[in-house]
Symmetry: C2
Subunit: 332 residues, 2 copies
Amino acid sequence: MIPKGHVVALSGGVGGAKLALGLASVLPSSQLSIVANTGDDFEYLGLHISPDIDSLIYTLAGVNNPVTGWGRANESWTFMSEAERLGIDSWFRTGDKDLAVHVHRTSRLRSGSSLSAVTDEIARRMGIAANIIPMSDDPVRTYLETDVGTLAFQDYFVRHGCKPQVSGIRFQGCETAAPSPMFRQLLDSPDLAAVVLCPSNPYLSIDPVLSIPGVVEALACNKAPVIAVSPIVQGQAIKGPTAKIMGELGVPVTPAAVADHYQGLIDGFVLDSSDGELSRSMAGTGLAVEVANTVMQSLGDRASLARTVLEFSRRLQHAPARPRHNPRVRLS
Amino acid sequence: MIPKGHVVALSGGVGGAKLALGLASVLPSSQLSIVANTGDDFEYLGLHISPDIDSLIYTLAGVNNPVTGWGRANESWTFMSEAERLGIDSWFRTGDKDLAVHVHRTSRLRSGSSLSAVTDEIARRMGIAANIIPMSDDPVRTYLETDVGTLAFQDYFVRHGCKPQVSGIRFQGCETAAPSPMFRQLLDSPDLAAVVLCPSNPYLSIDPVLSIPGVVEALACNKAPVIAVSPIVQGQAIKGPTAKIMGELGVPVTPAAVADHYQGLIDGFVLDSSDGELSRSMAGTGLAVEVANTVMQSLGDRASLARTVLEFSRRLQHAPARPRHNPRVRLS
């Protein structure tokens, strides 16, 4: 089922989707699976919304809105205006095209489909050749402990605009969740060539995936090298609240801190060229480090980073078997 | 709660909504309640759709599409195009504005609101002063026995374009349904001035309302005159499959047959002027008959018919108490 040389990318939304698009542009279409964080999923107006799955689908289908970073390009807002007239609380905004995905997904889920099945259907319909896979078909929901109380992810992210100070993060339901069937199959496959942790927020986008029982263990057992791309460049996050949250959690806002967060899980780490001077000090940790342009502005940048990551993984495949520690990824 | 002189109109969609709008334009806003057929309600893409309630709301709010006879004026179709791209079965079509009502209603129902409550909310938000009331908060669903099998109403009406030959009609769930609380209150009120059966399809739009246990009995007990307006003019229905269905059920396609269908329930019957010559023969049945222009083309026509119906009801109020038969409305 899984072709030899298959690459698995773990991704959140916008930032991760850029590298996922790069990977899709340089890999044969049957050789890429993107596992999406679903910790941000929520219900709005009775609709099941999967923001990271949608960002990935829209980006890979080339219909994403690059200006807002969410939703669709050439979107219209008739539904939303009318819904506001009816008095709905419009803290979250969905365009008319975006809404078609939410309504269709919700309807399919209600009639008994799994999130995996409906995600696959939507991705195929949108013309995407790579697999887009939810991390789990079970509900896992990210909550943040903040100075204004416990907030569901969308509450923190959209309603509060990431302003509250974060003191803790938990993934409700993770203890009893299982990896989605296709994710499980990939984790156990001897034919994986690489696992890529996209430059998404480690705490909010990658950790939910890693929080699912069995995932970290399976990654440790799988011979495929695991490579993380730093979401931190020059002490800042390209997008989103990663740097702010790291600061609030008392973690230095550096690529090394991200690598440390993933310690025991990853074999290689990709730093941005502008942080190149850090590679020597990080090499001391025994971790293989690669330097590349990780700030993906053009499609060419995305493909170029993807190629670098894949070449890096090939080198690591042929490197002497690394001593795999007991994974000790710290889930906040 | 119910002001003296209150008028209750029982209505289906488009045809009935015209007279409902006429009544709304001539009555003080607090003196009109329109009870909507919900036998046509159905689920589409997981959304609860109430076609007759929506037709009434859109018509009274002045935002209906007078060309199609359903949906909204100045509608846009972005959602639908996108949903088709996702592979949904688009046998039913909902515009972006229309969709806001469906999504909002479904969301409120799922969170425990009654159909009465959410209908009232939507109507108020749309600026409607009259009460719009579902006949019941319980599900009653119209099914037609036809030459191509049993069809749910929307299946017959939209998918099959009213083409199958009808041999029977039933209202699934009617045995255990109760009138909605406000409808019940109106039925029992001593302050009703009139009950108007709008010129809707007697078999598909009015009978579902009358099928709810207690409704016919309460109308018989209430002193308010009950007046029906003929949906048949010159042997034809103004709109919809009324005439076709009457023919298929072996009923003459005449106003007299409609009056006969309502026999024992109504005190007065309004004929179109073009059928005026029938009034003498009908008068022989003991039923009070009024003649008016029932083909409502302009808003003026709607108001004029409403005034005629209300004047007629006033005359019947002051007429000697009619001998109320045991109601024997024949529900198909």
